[in-house]
């Protein structure tokens, strides 16, 4: 997909394979995307290997275990914790569950949440933007005004509003608050992608190569998918990467407020939210999920910034 995008962007003079390599190379040359990729690699491997790396299940209560106590502080044998105590790298939470297991499994959940909500928003957003740009006229006007209205709210406030409303509506399919939260976050993110897509449609629609394919008898759909979409890929990828960071943050914030993932789900925001009154007695319950959350958001932010800088033709070095 990205190979196609770069071919169209830079003209047919280069061979696709070397261009793909060039693109990846220039992304990797950006310090920020490199750091972002490394951090992301750590998080993804932690999430994939969560079952192997963690000694306990995320919801398992270790009440019957010798030496395991509620809100137990971290105990690492390598760092001089007495070996007669069982090892808990990140300590135990208010229900005597292993925090390390919960944090790693939380990574899995957060990545899935981030990628799904953004994919949903990108699919819906690009379709809306493409139709608005192609059809134009009153349709474009109405659709884009609706997008303006969605953008006129502070994002988290609108997400909270949609999530409470969807929750109160009692729609049969939507009973899980986490799904409701993801849906709300996805809806709020749609206008960003719709705008990106519409802008590329408008800028490309009248270009010579599009007119040429139209003259050759290409269908509207063909033009959309072969000519317009590849050209819109760069901003969509950049926005999407940054959007994953936002989505992870917003789901965590909603769960923190009690609107997203519900206990005992191992979700970082929910984990912090349920123990926020114990921050003074058991800070490890806040710090470990908090660091995991911040690092994930940082990874996607850095990666998005790096891709933007690498692919921005105005910054050609």
């Amino acid at each position: 997909m990205s190979a196609d995008a770069t071919v169209v962007e830079h003209g047919p003079a280069h061979a696709p394979s070397s261009l793909l390599r060039d693109t990846i190379g220039s992304i990797l040359r950006q310090r920020s995307s490199l750091v972002g990729l490394v951090l992301l690699g750590i998080i993804v491997s932690g999430a994939l290997l969560a079952d192997v790396l963690t000694p306990y299940a995320p919801a398992q209560q270790l009440t019957s275990m010798e030496g395991a106590e509620r809100l137990g502080t971290p105990c690492i044998h390598l760092l001089g914790c007495p070996t007669e105590r069982p090892q808990f790298v990140m300590g135990l939470d208010e229900n005597t569950r292993d925090v390390f297991s919960r944090v790693l499994h939380g990574a899995r959940l957060s990545l899935v949440i981030g990628v799904t909500t953004v994919s949903l928003a990108i699919v819906v957003g690009t379709l809306i933007g493409a139709f608005a740009g192609f059809i134009g006229g009153w349709f474009d006007n109405i659709v884009m005004r609706i997008m303006d209205v969605l953008l006129a709210f502070p994002a988290l406030v609108l997400v909270i509003f949609l999530a409470t409303s969807l929750d109160a509506l009692d729609i049969p399919v939507l009973t899980d608050r986490l799904i409701i939260a993801m849906l709300a976050i996805g809806i709020v993110a749609v206008p960003v992608y719709a705008r990106v897509m519409r802008a590329s449609v408008l800028s490309i629609r009248e270009r010579e190569f599009v007119l040429a394919s139209r003259a050759l008898g290409a269908s509207q759909a063909g033009i959309l998918f072969r000519r317009v979409l590849p050209n819109a890929l760069t901003p969509l990828i950049v926005q999407g990467t940054l959007g994953i960071a936002t989505a992870i943050l917003e789901v965590a914030a909603l769960s923190f407020l009690g609107l997203g993932a519900q206990p005992p789900t191992a979700e970082w925001g929910a984990m912090i939210g349920t123990v926020r009154n114990q921050v003074f007695s058991a800070p490890h319950l806040i710090i470990f999920p908090g660091v995991a959350l911040s690092v994930s958001v940082l990874a996607f932010n850095l990666l998005g910034d790096g891709i933007r800088d690498a692919l921005d033709p105005r910054l050609n070095r």
Binding site: V149, A152, F153, P154, V157, L169, F256, G269, S294
Partner: protein, 357 residues
């Protein structure tokens, strides 16, 4: 300029209308008969029919929408299901706290962000630049509620007993006296609008302590404000720092800067007089954008630091499923957001004449 203001106002109207329509539609879709909510166990079919007629709930939806617009215009935002009070009353009590917190956070964000961005741009690629941009990147990524809780833990527990310890919750220490303005100025007799203004300002603890000379309360209030201010202001601060840096670098590459340098102007003069002022223009837009982060973050900040503002009221309303309050607060926040963005746009046009064209 007038034509520009007029055009910008006209563009805002459909958005305002859309916001109200969206909130209205979702309100009407929600289950829960308003009659049963209001009368509770006293509700009978007969009473409910009367109730619906009295409040216009038996009218067609478009008619209801018009009367809803009328309600909004007169400040009637509905009644809290849980508290049994008018939502507008709750907002008058709680909004001042949020306004004060947001203004402090915004000031912190602008001052620190602009200083850091300017420093980074002046020493491009120096360790100071790298460090500043690392702080900015991390600052954007740490969620408000994580930063807030960590700050509270550090300053209230780790530094307890040192001069640097700071209180982690509330507006004032327990037992700290803070008199309402009406009492300090001997205006208990005031009623109506003047009294409402006095009460509104009285709820802004620091401001009212400052203007009425309650120095102990002022000192205590500022100490309580520092942690929430930093927690809420860090994300906008980081955004502003990055924007200031890149905008400074853009300007420093322009011809007139080279001319100024060629004329022998000192570096201080070039940066301070020629580059900095022009570089501030894009920063104004970012300030408008960070307002969304501030209003969103206020919900989390007020919840963590137990400040009685609109945000924590929203949190309480979520917890008790008081969706009338949630909707009213969403509406009010969106209206504030749109208005301030309008002001930012207009001031941008004032600062940069090219925009007006």
């Amino acid at each position: 300029m007038l034509a520009f203001i007029g055009r910008r106002l006209l563009l805002t109207l459909p958005v305002l209308f859309g916001i109200i329509l969206l909130v209205f539609t979702l309100t009407r879709l929600l289950p829960g008969d308003p009659c049963i909510a209001a009368l509770q166990e006293r509700a009978t079919p007969q009473l409910c029919a009367d109730f619906n007629r009295r409040f216009g709930l038996d009218e067609p939806i478009p008619v209801q929408f018009v009367s809803y617009l009328g309600d909004l215009a007169t400040g009637n935002l509905g009644r809290s299901i849980q508290q049994g009070r008018d939502v507008s009353q709750i907002i008058v009590e709680r909004l001042p706290v949020t306004i004060e917190l947001t203004l402090f956070a915004l000031t912190f964000a602008i001052v620190t962000g602009v200083l850091l961005g300017r420093l980074a741009a002046r020493r491009r690629n120096s360790p100071a630049d790298v460090a500043t941009m690392m702080v900015a990147n991390i600052g954007v990524s740490v969620p408000v509620f994580v930063l807030g809780l960590v700050l509270a833990f550090f300053f209230a527990v780790v530094l307890r007993g040192t001069p640097f310890s700071l209180p982690p919750s509330g507006l004032l220490s327990p037992g700290m006296r803070h008199e309402d303005l009406a009492i300090v100025w001997g205006m208990q007799g005031a009623e109506g609008f003047p009294r409402a203004v006095l009460d509104f300002v009285s709820h802004m603890t620091i401001t009212s302590a400052l203007i009425s000379g309650q120095w102990e309360a002022l000192y205590d209030g500022i100490r309580h404000m520092i942690l929430p201010m930093v927690a809420l202001g860090t994300i906008p601060m980081a955004i502003i720092a990055r924007m200031t840096r890149s905008s400074m670098l853009d300007v420093l590459g322009l011809d007139y800067i080279r001319t100024a340098r060629a004329k022998g102007a000192s570096e201080r003069l070039v940066i301070g007089r020629h580059a900095f002022r022009n570089a501030l223009l894009p920063v104004v837009t970012v300030i408008g954008l960070s307002l969304g982060a501030l209003l969103s973050g206020a919900v989390l900040t007020e919840t963590i630091f137990r400040l009685p503002g609109v945000g924590s009221a929203l949190f309480e309303a979520i917890a008790s499923r008081d969706y009338i309050v949630v909707q009213a607060f969403t509406l009010v926040t969106a209206l504030i957001y749109v208005t301030i963005n309008l002001i930012v746009d207009l001031s941008y046009a004032y600062l940069d004449p090219r925009i007006r064209l």
